[in-house]
């Protein structure tokens, strides 16, 4: 068990009286890529945000590196090096691309900024061309790259990606998935991602979860779920095979 990085145990999260998560158990081990798939409104983004304490779980617990972080304020959770590229990208619209990346590096007070920003620019050359442009005026795909780049600037131990391929051209999607793979293999970065692009995500993942109505209904390795007829019927039909 010592290699478990994140463990979510029996978590229930509410929005007012609406229960969005109904007892979720999820585990992510150090150095692996895990993914979460599920229909719209299943609670995937809610789980990502609950891990970051915004909103907090009403019951159950979130354990990171053996520490209970369920009741920790969001900014302190971030300081444990959990970085998220959240749903909707949430780029600071009136800050430049460069400043958005600086915000990503707030934890270390820009100590590694110059070094790290070059890596991000290598990953997404587009961002370098646009570095003086205001975030709010970027195209959707550019914002997505910026959101991922900003999360990486935090030098995360756990990277949470909520639909990283959303709105991106197929070529860029491939680029992003390749980048995730490289970061994972070469730097041992642990990644937990939510995807609608189930095929690509399952193929990439060591571990995968299917969420339905606030509950995890299936789990297994990426390969297992890819081969599972139920998963194929619900999430993969019509997709690329």
């Amino acid at each position: 068990m010592s290699d478990t990085l994140l463990s979510v145990q029996g978590v229930e999260t509410y929005y007012g009286n609406i229960r969005a998560l109904a007892g979720v158990d999820v585990e992510v081990k150090k150095g692996e890529i895990a993914c979460l798939i599920g229909a719209n409104g299943a609670g995937k983004s809610t789980l990502m945000m609950t891990i970051c304490g915004s909103p907090q779980a009403r019951t159950g617990s979130v354990i990171f590196e053996g520490r209970d972080i369920t009741r920790m304020p969001t900014h302190e959770i971030a300081r444990l090096r959990i970085a998220q590229s959240p749903e909707g990208r949430r780029i600071f619209p009136r800050m430049t691309v460069y400043e958005n990346l600086q915000m990503g590096a707030s934890l270390d007070n820009l100590k590694y900024f110059n070094e790290d920003v070059e890596k991000i620019y290598t990953l997404f050359p587009r961002l370098k061309e646009r570095q003086a442009q205001r975030g709010g005026t970027l195209s959707g795909g550019e914002q997505q790259m910026l959101s991922i780049g900003r999360a990486l600037m935090a030098r995360p131990k756990l990277l949470l990606l909520d639909e990283p391929s959303l709105g991106l051209a197929p070529l860029i999607v491939k680029q992003i998935f390749d980048a995730i793979k490289v970061l994972n293999q070469e730097q041992g970065l642990t990644v937990f991602l939510v995807e609608q692009n189930a095929f690509a995500a399952l193929k990439l993942s060591d571990r995968a979860y299917v969420m339905v109505n606030g509950k995890v209904t299936m789990r297994g390795t990426g390969k297992e779920l890819l081969a599972n007829p139920e998963v194929r019927a619900a999430y993969l039909e019509g997709g690329r095979h």
């Binding site: 959240p86 600071f92 619209p93 800050m95 709010g136 935090a154």
Partner: protein, 300 residues
């Protein structure tokens, strides 16, 4: 012509003071979307703190240089105002964050009344005079410029430069702008949002306190009701310039100062406030977000 330039100088001085106060309104509005109605009283409190420390110091030490005196007065004013603004944010506004929009506004009005009544009770309702601190007047091409006017304008320029630098070039300023644009995302990046908001209240109070000290030096009196009219004018300046915009606050302040002195000079002084607010109404009809305000449409 000389008369006109003379009025410009007076307007600029007054406008600087309004501008300094307006920044506090606009920053707080920017970061938490509320009008801190007690901000005008923070300005008044700053003036009183300066006056009290002046009386204390001059009764102990005789013959201190004016520069030292003014610095001590400003420091005392800033400390008092910052402490007060920090406290009301923490105890009165923070618990209401996320409740319905009018709740913090009503609380702020309550805080404003509390503070002005507190000063009225403890310091008395009448004008409190201070001996003239800086009385030199220079004559430049037939226009008389008082040293205190130069001090006010110069100090405003310095403070605005420092402020501009902090907001645009430092990590604190970035955190403030990030919190303003997306509080949740800022927290996800490790920004302590509560602390950032506290610092914003402290910074706004500091500028208002300097303005309070300058106002005291300029007019030579402090009175509990000073929080109201200059406060409302500075608020008007913030709205005129475009609430949420820092340069807007300064431009709005200067405009209001100028309108006020020019109107008093050429028309009747009794209607100067009417003139000010009419201009506000006219600007808002044609540009509802103020001179430098951003329209609410933005691609996010």
């Amino acid at each position: 012509m000389e008369y006109f330039i003379q009025q410009l100088v007076n307007g600029l001085t007054l406008g600087s003071i309004y501008g300094l106060i307006a920044i506090g309104y606009t920053m707080v509005y920017g970061i938490i979307g509320m009008i801190n109605f007690a901000h005008g009283d923070i300005f008044m409190l700053g003036g009183f703190a300066a006056l009290i420390i002046f009386l204390v110091i001059t009764s102990i030490f005789v013959g201190l240089p004016v520069v030292i005196l003014l610095l001590i007065m400003m420091a005392a004013a800033m400390l008092t105002a910052a402490l007060w603004n920090w406290t009301i944010e923490k105890v009165a506004y923070r618990p209401l964050r996320g409740s319905f929009r009018l709740a913090p506004l009503i609380t702020a009005i309550g805080m404003s009344i509390t503070l002005s009544n507190f000063i009225q009770v403890t310091q008395g309702p009448r004008n409190k005079p201070i001996p003239p601190l800086v009385s030199s007047v220079y004559n430049v091409f037939g226009i008389s410029i008082a040293l205190k006017q130069i001090i006010i304008v110069l100090l405003t320029v310095i403070l605005l430069t420092v402020f501009w630098y902090i907001v645009n070039k430092t990590s604190l300023g970035r955190a403030q702008r990030a919190t303003e644009q997306d509080r949740k995302m800022a927290a996800l990046l490790g920004i302590d949002v509560d602390r950032t908001i506290s610092i914003t209240f402290i910074m706004g109070a500091g500028l208002a306190a300097v303005a309070g000290t300058m106002y005291l030096m300029y007019y030579g009196v402090a009175v509990f009701s000073d929080g109201f009219i200059p406060g409302v004018k500075a608020f008007t300046a913030a709205v005129l310039g475009g609430i949420g915009s820092l340069p807007g606050a300064v431009i709005g302040g200067l405009l209001i100062g100028l309108i006020e002195s020019l109107w008093s000079a050429y028309f009747t002084i009794d209607y100067k406030d009417v003139a000010t607010f009419s201009i506000l109404a006219i600007v808002l009809i044609f540009k509802p977000s103020g001179i430098l305000g951003r329209p609410e449409v933005e691609k996010v």
